[in-house]
Symmetry: C2
Subunit: 216 residues, 2 copies
């Protein structure tokens, strides 16, 4: 159990705040797209990108970070947010409508990974985070490609999670209001893999692509 | 066609940059969760929340903005990002792995909606944006509830979209590399609605909950 800092304490709907690593890491491991926030010339920017978790470190794919990385040499203050949407919650009153979701916010200083071995390993972990098994089936990065890729390292130290699950919670007097009420479950689902036009003969869809899911 | 500003011009993979309103608005209309970035005490924060679009204005549900709104009276610089994930793109080389997605970034100054009539209408539009038809089936907000809700208004003036669709694009020499290559399509899907435990007799699932989809 982590003690929230004044910056990570959940203010609105504080009962939804979760500060234990287990919950936060399960959310980070189910997701694979984060929204990275940073500041450039007093303007906040929020960019979606992929990431992977290695113990208490987030590795963030830097493709989205070109604007951020322009003048970066000693690290930059970031907020990395991962949101999993689980459903729409239809209450009787508009006011009590809600969503079921699980989200994590990590604050800290992100640094560019410069060591080539760490960078290669970070990319492998990001790749395995997104599609376990794909790395060894691929043509691995050349030195030139590695140089053209940037990866950020962010220690997971200051974080909080926020979780809302379950049915609607209406005010007691609204339970007689005559309307349907309940939850529309939402999830991200994978469709049938689509072969590339130039597939070599004999190449069949690998199992990690056939039954792709984020559930662990 | 909008001319991108230095702040919204897509830097990385510039061929994916899209600056016309039609594309950007279609993305904003298909999504309903945005990630709002703002700065507090030099620290960026990124918070997921819901929104609705009314012509050239984004209305953002302020439930997530408690931290942001603390000392707010004249508006705050924000970045609102909406990301739709369409698939994983498995190339032959790790370097050319990608994702299919559509995203929009809107920069500007968000202001709190104070006029009660505008706030009520903004909430209606956010509600209709998320589940068309739900507003009139619900117990509408009281004055007290309206006061307890905050809504932000953000003009959609400075924005860019980024779109990647289609199959993998490998380096020519990699097309002989013996691995499967293609796309795993991803989409957000709705499951069977779950009745609330305290549903009144005779209340059946409305059509907007039965076949919920974001496709327009």
């Amino acid at each position: 159990m982590q003690t929230p800092t004044p910056r990570t304490r959940v203010i609105r709907e504080p009962q939804r705040g979760v500060y234990d690593k287990e919950t936060a890491y399960a959310i980070l491991d189910e997701g694979f797209i984060c929204h990275v926030g940073f500041v450039a010339d007093a303007q906040p920017f929020v960019i979606p990108t992929s990431y992977g978790r290695v113990n208490d470190t987030l590795y963030i794919h830097g493709s989205a970070a070109s604007r951020m990385l322009r003048n970066l040499d000693k690290g930059i203050a970031v907020c990395v947010t991962v949101t999993l949407l689980d459903g729409l919650v239809l209450a009787r009153s508009i006011f009590n409508h809600s969503m079921n979701y699980r989200s994590v916010v990590v604050l800290g200083t992100a640094a560019v990974v410069t060591d080539p071995a760490e960078k290669l390993e970070a990319l492998r972990r990001i790749s395995e985070h997104i599609i376990p098994g794909r790395w060894v089936d691929s043509r691995l990065p050349t030195e030139k490609e590695l140089k053209a890729t940037s990866v950020l390292r962010l220690p997971i130290e200051e974080f909080s999670a926020k979780v809302r699950q379950g049915g609607p919670i209406d005010d007691e007097e609204d339970y007689t209001f005559p309307t349907w009420s309940g939850v529309i479950p939402l999830e991200m689902t994978a469709g049938e893999p689509v072969n590339d036009d130039r597939l070599l003969p004999g190449q069949t869809v690998p199992s990690y692509a056939l039954r792709y899911t984020r559930k662990r």
